[in-house]
């Protein structure tokens, strides 16, 4: 009996281990090895730290690196600000059918692929697009307005793309908040603001943190939205990795960039957990 359970356990574990080992651990080790070498001449490589040296001294790479990090944090914050009231309404104010319908409405944009969604924004925002035409028609603008290819457009795209991943965990945690606790807060003389600060936000913290982590990761690793909506000034770090690997055939530097991104996201997530005084276990469990 016990032996059988053991075999069952091993059988169940194997796919996970294969998944982790073949698709995550081994490729990453290979990447690390690539990032730690330097091309000497045709087909000759030597171990060295040049790639990291280059990545950390060239102002352009560093600037893009920090820009991507700051913009991702900003996108996460904006997503939280927009998603919180939405999630609160769905979880606490809406009842029955309406609740389901609203939840579905959040979900529906995700039925189409990210490419189509991003292209939708391009159609809306471009110079000959809907918004520009509407502004001209109402007389608010006297010539075509270009709203694409800047940081704001990119931010809109990023927030829109990751909205669902913030709303879902927030709705789940907020639903578990007993209404009577909120009422008690008011009965004890709390204002709307203090109830929000003392009761609702502390209760929703696990949802906020896990939502933020997911959204931050998605923004940081996003390739499509920054490339399509961002335009000529907005180089995203993932774009640089793609460029190094595919366009420039410089796998060494690309691999080093990849590792820098991995370290950056790990550090920021760790920092976020430390800041909110939570452990990964609490958040994910």
């Amino acid at each position: 009996m016990r032996a059988e359970a053991r075999i069952g356990f091993i059988l169940l574990l194997t796919p996970l281990l294969l998944w982790l080992g073949l698709l995550i651990v081994i490729p990453h080790i290979d990447m690390l090895m690539i990032s730690l070498r330097e091309r000497i001449s045709f087909g000759v490589y030597e171990p060295s730290l040049t790639q990291y040296d280059k990545a950390l001294t060239e102002p352009l790479y560093l600037r893009t690196f920090w820009r991507t990090a700051v913009m991702s944090v900003l996108a996460t914050a904006i997503t939280l600000l927009i998603a919180f009231p939405v999630a609160y309404y769905i979880a606490k104010m809406a009842r029955g059918r309406l609740q389901q319908v609203l939840f579905m409405l959040c979900l529906i944009p995700f039925y189409v692929s990210e490419l189509v969604r991003t292209f939708g924004w391009m159609i809306l925002l471009r110079e000959t697009g809907l918004v520009s035409n509407l502004l001209q028609w109402t007389g608010l603008a006297d010539q075509p307005v270009e709203m694409l290819y800047n940081d704001a457009a990119m931010m809109v795209g990023l927030v829109y793309t990751s909205m669902l991943f913030m709303v879902v965990p927030l709705v789940t945690t907020l639903e578990s908040l007993d209404d009577s606790v909120v009422e008690a807060g008011y009965d004890l003389g709390g204002s709307g603001l203090s109830v929000l600060r003392e009761i609702i936000i502390p209760h929703a913290m696990p949802g906020i943190v896990s939502g933020c982590i997911v959204v931050f990761m998605l923004s940081l690793g996003n390739y499509l939205t920054p490339t399509m909506l961002g335009g000529k000034d907005s180089l995203w770090f993932t774009e640089m990795i793609y460029n190094q690997f595919i366009v420039r055939s410089n796998w060494e530097l690309g691999a080093a960039f990849g590792f820098m991104l991995l370290v950056l996201s790990s550090v920021i997530v760790w920092g976020m957990l430390r800041l909110t005084g939570r452990t990964l276990q609490e958040t994910m469990g």
Binding site: M33, G43, T64, R126, T128, E146, Y149, K232, S249
Partner: protein, 354 residues
Amino acid sequence: MKKTLLTTTCLAVFGLSQAATADTLRLLTWGGYAPDEVVEMFEEQTGHTVEVTKSNNEEMIAKLRATGGGGFDLAQPSQDRIMGPQMEFGIYKPMDLSKIDESLFIPSMLEATKGNTTVNGEVYGVPHVWGTSGLVMNTAEAGDVVKDYTDLCDPALEGKVSYRLKRPTLIGFAFAMGEDPFAAYGDEAKYKEIMEKVEAKLTECKSNVKAYWSGGDELMNLLRSGEVTASMAWDTGGWKLNEDNSDITFVAPASGALGWIDTFVLPAKGQADDVAYEWINFVMQPEVSAKITAAAGNFTASAGADEYAEDALKAKYQDSFPPEAVDNIKWYPPVPAGLEAIEGEVLDRVQAAN
């Protein structure tokens, strides 16, 4: 060691599903180079099947590099991208020219490609499709201002310009600025100096650019909607747009259009070389080449295919290329290794500049 391990495991996992039969030709090519009609004709005549994967130069090399030259039986990178990658990664295998019917090719183009793709005395490529890049613009709006690449920076065109952030732009601007980057290919210091000048120009020009295009369709949209009036692009793009709007067309710049030749090469681990040779000899027949010209919009290196080409396309070609412009075409020589690293840094800095 790690790589071998990785490859072995991958092979073990995917080997069964991807085992190619000798009768399948896995072709890595550009859009339009293997139109359905031609593929069907070939399959009917020979009984082989053809799997077409569409790509571009950089992706082709990256794909072949990742597998050490496996996964495809025939690839079509540009002739300037054969020598360097072959010396660096060994992803191609030499051609057996006796299996190719050389009489099907335009002799001068065949010789030039052979010369440019020779590594250690072995020939690696034969020509297929050729074309140029230059200026695609709305001649009614920008025709008076733009005569050469550098004119794209004219203040009159602010916010109405688009080009790619890739090496053709660097090379084109260098020629337009009176430099000769191809002559400096062998001299890294000199090349770097030229590229620095180009970088300064492109940075200064940035405010004129609406967006750096990356896909052909993206540029077509920008030009068609009138959001962009002048751009740097391939000749076929201009001719295609010309059908919808007669003001838009391809113009060979004063400093010379940049000429490219896409080739046939055999990936190092290709498994169907004989089918690949059959395919080459098949598509180089004048009638078949004319079909490819009709689909891709570009002319081929097939001798005598001109006779079969559509008159409309011929007329557009003659319009864009008066005889002196043809003589002025700058053909890309093979890119020495190392130069692309310099270009890459320049392009990155231009993109990040404000």
